[in-house]
Each structure stands twice: as structure tokens, then as C-alpha cells.
């Protein structure tokens, strides 16, 4: 009886430990994908060309470009300089945790932050157009901080 009970406890404890480590892994995964509220993962990223990611991510309510974002945009600028016939649309987006109208403005501000940076790296204004989708076109449907961080983005899309 006593033996049985202790086995039972042991099983319970090991299940609990397993669960804990699973949780820890989950948390670690999340941590590694968000830094200071900005998405740093690659789940949703597509590539305009080899080694040229198509999008940059923002912190909540922010339109400031992070170091990683500037790096991505410099790669885009280099690619655009090499492919001078290609024009792009910058699509600005917000997460679902804001009022619709403000988010439209915020998406426009984010896309323009990316546009300004491309322009400082020599891309002509008339090759870049900007559109904001506000919170209307999330790439991730979830209602959690990781999903929201993927949705706060500016995506560079070929226009032609």
C-alpha cells in the first residue's frame, strides 16, 4: 500500500516536472522571439530575395525602427539599388489592441518610418508607395503578446 502510494507520488512528481520544463521551454521560446516588446523571430518573415527579409517589427504604439529593423531595411535598400526597375509598396500594420482609426494612422506612421529609412539609403521616393491597413490584416490570428508582436509590422511588397 505504502509502496504503491509512493510510486503514485513519484509518477505525479515526474509528470509535474515534465509539465514545468515544457512550460519553461515555451516561455524561453517566447522570450527569444520578443525583445523589449518587439518581435525578433522569423515565423512570418518572407524574403524579397536571398537574405533580404520583407518586414520589420515595432513595439506597442511605437514607430521607432530598432537596430534589427534598420539592418533589414539596409538590405532592402541594397537590393532595390541593384534592381532599379522594381518599385515597392510599404504596408503598415498595427495589432488588434487599439482603436480602429488610431491604428490606421499608426500603420501609416510605421510604413513611413520604413520609407524614410529606405530613402536615406538612396531609394527614390517615387519608387515607394505606402498603405496602412491598421489592424485590419493581421498575419497571426492569436490574441496574445506574441501574435500581436508579429502583427505590428511594416511589410515591403513588390509593386510590379
Amino acid at each position: 500500500m505504502i509502496f504503491k502510494k509512493s510510486t503514485y507520488n513519484l509518477i505525479l512528481a515526474s509528470i509535474f516536472a515534465l509539465l514545468l520544463s515544457a512550460c519553461a521551454q515555451q516561455a524561453a521560446k517566447l522570450d527569444s522571439q520578443i525583445q523589449g516588446d518587439v518581435y525578433t523571430g522569423t515565423d512570418t518573415v518572407e524574403y524579397l530575395a536571398d537574405g533580404v527579409p520583407d518586414r520589420v517589427f515595432f513595439a506597442t504604439n511605437e514607430s521607432v525602427l530598432t537596430t534589427a529593423s534598420r539592418d533589414t531595411l539596409r538590405k532592402q535598400a541594397a537590393w532595390l539599388r541593384k534592381n532599379s526597375s522594381i518599385n515597392v509598396v510599404l504596408e503598415g500594420h498595427a495589432d488588434e489592441r487599439g482603436t480602429r482609426e488610431y491604428n490606421l494612422a499608426l500603420g501609416e506612421r510605421r510604413a513611413n518610418a520604413a520609407k524614410d529609412y529606405l530613402m536615406t539609403y538612396g531609394i527614390s521616393e517615387n519608387r515607394i508607395s505606402v498603405i496602412s491597413y491598421g489592424k485590419e490584416r493581421p498575419v497571426d490570428s492569436g490574441s496574445n503578446p506574441l501574435s500581436w508582436s508579429k502583427n505590428r509590422r511594416s511589410v515591403t511588397v513588390k509593386a510590379n
Binding site: 489592441r97 482603436t99 480602429r100 488610431y102 490606421l104 494612422a105 493581421p138 490570428s141 492569436g142
Partner: protein
């Protein structure tokens, strides 16, 4: 939409000499004891019933109208319509002369009776409102219209009763314009939809080929201004509901959004976004003159006029975060009015002029609230996971807004629905729509 002409004949209005002696319903407080009211089926004889069943496929027209009235009164939270089963008097007899003892026996304090006749392709509907305890008639009105308007008759009667008992205009003969939503979150299909305030007679005004957002009525309810992504260019549009003709508002070299009409219907006020900066502009619909109202390197959006047209409230993040501001309609004397904890958005001026309703975001929760136009007296009416964009009932007593639910990573569990709540903070209820819905805007009263 045909312009509906209602021939209103006042057959008799017995205005009581002493108003205080009759029933009064106080709508300024949450009502925990709704007034027991008996809405008798309106009497319609067999010939009328059969003719109208053939004509508009409605069975027992008198009863059907009484149900419209009952549901309207019930939804206010101020009235408690009693079970018809308990009624002792037949509709025709009650309408002629109620036996008040019978009605007070079932605890009714007010009684509505009526009669429907069908003659020369028109229906004539008369109703009377009785004070059961005082044993007196309070109101009697008759209407003549085409049979298809039978629900509107129910709404107009509801408005008359509400006004007589509360002393304020009703909001039943009104419509809601909103955005109908379908499909997964990542590619939601949105259409403009319009319906009666009670959820009936839904019509879709766009096909869903392009994204549409934030429709708002003009003061006569014949035009709608909204945001459309037609040809992937987000611009403010104007739609004539009757003709279906749409036109883009102004010739802006960038996104225009967050449109509303001025109270005289002559201007559209909206945001125009350029180079990462959104400011507020107006366009006069008569002479097409565009005026810039704000000029600030922050986001200025969600503008809404005061009912006298002299002021504009809007939200701006010029302080660093989204807050509510008020300015004169020429853009001068900008003053921040929201100072509580959290972010404030979507301010909308009450039709009575004394309050501004808003959305507030604080510690991960969304609130619908109201404050005075100087920012004092902030009162939060409802808290939820996500809700925003209040719109006032024309009498300024009720707010309609939309609410979204959380979803898992597959997007399951997501929904968007319309809700309403009284200014008192009581009587929160879901508004029925055929599909998921957002961005509601309440019309003014259609008749009067």
C-alpha cells in the same frame, strides 16, 4: 430606399390637466423596477388579417405590431411588458373602453390598445395609451401608410409612448449602419450593412469586394460617409443610400479616414495621413473647399463635432499617448480634456451637447465611458477584453458600440458583435445582427 410619407392624424390627445397625477418614468437613473405595461394586441378583423396576410405575408397584423412595440419597450429596461396570456379583455373591447379593474388585477400600470384597418391599399393604425390606476387615456394617435411600413408604425408608436411616459424623445424609428464581417481574421470580408434599430430589415450596401470601415450617417440619414479600400487606395467616400451612387470625398494625395458629417450635413470632417503624420481636415460638400483644421506632427484623428457645430473633439497622441482634445471648429484653442490613467480614443459628442463618449484602454482592458465636455465627471460604463467606437442614440440616452472576443492562435473564438448600454451604465445588451458586426452608427429619428 423610398422616402416614406406617413400621414399622421391626431384623432384626440387628452392632455391631462395635472401631469403629476399620471405615470412618469425616470430615465436618468438605472431602473430596477421597470414599469409594468400591458401591450394588448391591436385589434384587426378577419378580413384585414386575410388581406394583409396575402399582401405582405404577415399573420395577425395587429398582434405583430404589438410585438414590435413590446420588444422595443422591453429593450429600454424601463418597461416590463406583461404576458399577453394573462390579459382578461379582448383587444377590440379593451380599445373601446378598458375595464381598468381587470388590468390593475394583473398589476399593469399602463395599457396600450389599438386597431388596424385595411382600406384602399393603405393600412390605418390607431393606438391609445391608458393610465390604468388613474383610469384615463393619456394619448391617442392614428397613422395611415402602406402595408409594408407596418414595422415602422410599431416603432413610431413606441416612440410616442416612450416620449409620453418619460418626457424625452424616443429612438425606435431609427436605423443602425454598421460593418458586417465574415471570414477568418487574417482575411476578413467586410460589407456596409443597414438595419432597423431592432435588428430587422437588414440590407447590404456593398458587396465585400473591398475593405470598408467606419460608416456614419448624415443628419437626414440619406447619405453615409465611410472609408473604402477601393482599388487599394484607402479614401473617404460618400454614398447616397437611395441611389447607391458613391463618390470619393476630395482629392487627397494619401489616405483619408475617420470621416463624420458636420451637424448641418454640409461638411465632412476627417483625417488625412501624409508622410507619417495624420491631421484633421474638412471638406465642404457644396463648394468642395478643403480646410486644414489641425497642423501638428502627431496623430490627430477621430474628429466629432459638437451638435451646435462650434467645437470639435478629437484624439491625438501629441502628449506622447492617445488622449482626447477639444478645439473650436476653426482649429483654434486646442485643449486636452482627458487626464485619467490610460489611453483615450474615439471621442464622440452627445446629441444633447453635454457629454463626450469615448473608448479607454487601461491595463489591458477596454472601457466605454463618458465625460463632460471639459473633461470632468469621467464615468466608465462598461469594461471588457476589447470594445470601442461608441455611437449615441438620437436622444443621447443609449450608446451602441462593438465588442470583440479573444481568439486562440488559430483564430478560433473570435467574434465581433454590436452591444448597447444606457448612459446610466445599466441595461447592457447584445444587438442582434445577421452576421458578425462592428463600427455601428446610429441614425437620427426617421420621422418627426
Amino acid at each position: 430606399m423610398k422616402k416614406i410619407r406617413l400621414l399622421i392624424i391626431l384623432i384626440s390627445i387628452c392632455l391631462p390637466l395635472n401631469v403629476n397625477a399620471l405615470i412618469e418614468v425616470d430615465i436618468t437613473r438605472g431602473n430596477l423596477n421597470p414599469l409594468p405595461i400591458a401591450v394588448s394586441a391591436l385589434y384587426s378583423d378577419q378580413d384585414t388579417n386575410e388581406a394583409l396576410k396575402k399582401e405582405i405575408k404577415i399573420d395577425q397584423i395587429g398582434n405583430a405590431i404589438s410585438i414590435v412595440i413590446e420588444n422595443n419597450l422591453k429593450a429600454t429596461g424601463l418597461f416590463n411588458p406583461l404576458e399577453k396570456k394573462a390579459f382578461l379583455q379582448k383587444p377590440d373591447v379593451a380599445h373601446l373602453k378598458p375595464r381598468f379593474e381587470d388590468w390593475s388585477l394583473i398589476k399593469a400600470q399602463a395599457l396600450i390598445t389599438g386597431k388596424v384597418e385595411y382600406k384602399d391599399d393603405k393600412v390605418r393604425v390607431e393606438f391609445r395609451l391608458w393610465d390604468v390606476l388613474a383610469a384615463r387615456e393619456m394619448l391617442a394617435i392614428a397613422f395611415t401608410t402602406v402595408p409594408n411600413n407596418w414595422r415602422r408604425i410599431g416603432h413610431i408608436i413606441s416612440d410616442k409612448i416612450y416620449e409620453r411616459l418619460t418626457g424625452e424623445k424616443g429612438y425606435f424609428d431609427t436605423r443602425i449602419i454598421y460593418v458586417s464581417e465574415k471570414g477568418p481574421k487574417t482575411k476578413r470580408v467586410k460589407k456596409l450593412a443597414i438595419m432597423d434599430q431592432d435588428g430587422f430589415n437588414t440590407k447590404y450596401l456593398t458587396l465585400g469586394n473591398e475593405l470598408v470601415l467606419t460608416p456614419r450617417f448624415n443628419p437626414t440619414n440619406q447619405m453615409v460617409t465611410y472609408l473604402s479600400y477601393f482599388k487599394n487606395l484607402p479614401r473617404v467616400y460618400l454614398l447616397d443610400i437611395e441611389t447607391g451612387i458613391q463618390e470619393v470625398v476630395g482629392d487627397f494625395p494619401g489616405m483619408t479616414f475617420a470621416p463624420r458629417f458636420s451637424p448641418d450635413g454640409k461638411k465632412i470632417i476627417m483625417s488625412f495621413a501624409k508622410d507619417g503624420n495624420s491631421d484633421i481636415y474638412t471638406m465642404n460638400l457644396e463648394n468642395r473647399i478643403v480646410e486644414r483644421i489641425t497642423n501638428h506632427p502627431s496623430i490627430d484623428t477621430s474628429p466629432s463635432y459638437s451638435p451646435d457645430g462650434k467645437f470639435i473633439t478629437f484624439n491625438s497622441d501629441r502628449s506622447g499617448y492617445q488622449q482626447i482634445y477639444v478645439m473650436r471648429s476653426d482649429g483654434s484653442r486646442v485643449k486636452r480634456i482627458s487626464f485619467g490613467n490610460g489611453l483615450y480614443g474615439t471621442p464622440v459628442w452627445s446629441p444633447r451637447g453635454d457629454l463626450i463618449a469615448f473608448t479607454k484602454l487601461h491595463k489591458g482592458k477596454f472601457y466605454i465611458g463618458v465625460m463632460r465636455t471639459d473633461g470632468t465627471g469621467e464615468r466608465l460604463l462598461t469594461e471588457n477584453y476589447y470594445q470601442e467606437a461608441p455611437s449615441w442614440s438620437p436622444n443621447g440616452r443609449v450608446l451602441i458600440f462593438y465588442r470583440e472576443t479573444k481568439s486562440n492562435s488559430e483564430g478560433e473564438g473570435f467574434s465581433a458583435k454590436l452591444w448597447s448600454i444606457d448612459l446610466t451604465g445599466y441595461n447592457e445588451r447584445k444587438v442582434t445582427t445577421e452576421t458578425d458586426a462592428s463600427d455601428p452608427s446610429w441614425s437620427s429619428l426617421l420621422s418627426n
